[in-house]
């Protein structure tokens, strides 16, 4: 699953989709995850990165990540139709 290439991200958590004109705000952890997705990192790599740095358990985070990615897909911010854990 990859974020659409043209999605613009600001350091303050502002997300802009230039093809639809939609904009969103995300909190710092959401911003960090979107940044990883934009780099093309896998769900496993993101889980490893986050669980190492924050107090969260693996299975709990996996579920949250799947929900988050699902939301990004619904908002059409992703390329194609990959699954949350692709």
């Amino acid at each position: 699953m990859k974020l659409k290439k043209n999605i613009a991200l600001s350091d303050t958590g502002f997300v802009f989709d230039p093809s639809t004109g939609n904009s969103f705000t995300v909190n710092p952890i959401g911003l960090e995850i979107i940044g990883y997705l934009k780099e093309g990192r896998s769900a496993e790599e993101i889980k490893q990165e986050i669980t190492e740095r924050y107090e969260t358990d693996g299975p709990g985070f996996e579920k949250d990540l799947a929900d988050f990615v699902n939301m990004l897909q619904k908002l059409k911010l992703t390329d194609g139709h990959g699954k949350a854990t692709d």
Binding site: N6, A8, P18, S19, T20, G21
Partner: protein, 349 residues
């Protein structure tokens, strides 16, 4: 390089809640790097705000309402031309275009006044009543529509359409109707304001995206900027909008110019569905009221139109800024009674 001085008459000075495009067109011309413009406003009513915007409009003349006909308009333009030596007229209302297109050759040949307007056949072909056929001709997806001229036709709509429906005035305004009774109410309202026919159109769910564009009349698109409305008034007018990067919309515009050889500015109103289908719901035969966004995005279409009208070779714009917004606002001007009196009684200010 010295700017070329030019006298340009512009209509659409009604910068109101359902604004005409005149003021943003004038702002675009004032920002031209090529032209030093003297702007002659052409107004229909004494309270069009542009009449009193003296930093934008140098002088304003009232002109007869479109219903008065082309001859009356021509007589008035002769008078204005004698005083102002007009070189170009940019009309900005759908309802007045018929007369201006009819007069285009006379203005040019008898007074040397240029215009840059679509041909009458192009103008008529994209009318709301003809839009479905126009879409077929140019390979565009258009919602199913029908023209109504009598109440009696409303009952039969349910055979071919599913409610809700869009009910549209001949030139402006649109309402959504969920029942035949609501179609009837809208029919009465729209026909009394804009005349017949009233157009009924299949309702397409989705978000509205628009394109403002300019064609050179040979099939070439000179510029285009797509926009999504961000904030919409209760009249359905964009009070703010954002430029977007949508290649399919640009393709639609490009194809339309290519096949129709449209001359002048236009606005495409499009519904983008959740399935990413694009339905063209309207073609406005002039710049939209949000044309200044195109200028802000790096494409000064009114300036390019002036160059085309003067017969210059204009190269198409190659890019525009994505993610720029316009945010409209209202502003109270204080106007002396003298000025209001002058435009009301003498027809010029």
């Amino acid at each position: 390089m010295a700017k070329r001085r030019i006298n340009i008459a512009v209509t659409g000075l009604n910068a109101i809640d359902s604004p005409g495009p005149g003021i943003p067109v004038i702002r675009a011309l004032r920002e031209s790097s090529l032209f030093d413009v003297r702007i002659i406003g052409l107004s229909y009513e004494a309270l069009e705000p542009g009449i009193y915007m003296h930093d934008l409009v140098d002088k304003t003349y009232q002109i007869p309402l479109p219903a008065a006909g082309a001859e009356q308009l021509l007589n008035r333009l002769r008078y204005i031309h004698e005083a102002e030596q007009l070189e170009l007229i940019i009309p900005n209302f759908d309802a007045e275009l018929f007369n201006f297109i009819r007069l285009a050759d006379v203005l040019r040949e008898q007074m040397g006044i240029r215009t840059f307007l679509p041909e009458m056949a192009q103008f008529e072909a994209r009318q709301k009543v003809n839009l479905e056929a126009y879409g077929k001709e140019h390979g565009l997806r258009i919602p199913k529509s029908r023209s109504l001229t009598r109440h009696a036709e409303i009952a039969a709509l349910s055979h071919d359409f599913t409610y809700p429906l869009m009910v549209k005035g001949k030139f402006y305004d649109a309402c959504i109707a969920y029942t035949p009774e609501q179609v009837q109410t809208s029919f009465n309202k729209l026909s009394s304001k804009w005349g017949l026919p009233v157009i009924v159109q299949e309702f397409i769910a989705g978000e509205e995206v628009n394109v403002t564009a300019l064609g050179d009349g040979t099939g070439q698109m000179i510029g285009a900027v797509p926009m999504r409305k961000q904030y919409v008034t209760d009249k359905g007018k964009a009070w703010s909008g954002i430029s977007i990067d949508d290649e399919r919309l640009l393709d639609m515009a490009r194809r339309l110019f290519h096949t129709s050889r449209w001359r002048g500015g236009l606005e495409l109103e499009v519904i983008r569905t959740a399935e990413e289908d694009y339905y063209l719901i309207e073609i406005n035969p002039r710049f939209p009221a949000w044309i200044y966004l195109a200028v802000g995005c790096g494409q000064n279409h009114p300036e390019a139109l002036v160059r085309l009208a003067l017969g210059e070779d204009v190269k198409p714009f190659e890019r525009y800024d994505v993610g720029k917004l316009f945010v409209r606002y209202s502003y109270d001007m204080i106007v002396e009674l003298d000025e209001f009196m002058k435009i009301s009684t003498q027809g010029e200010l």
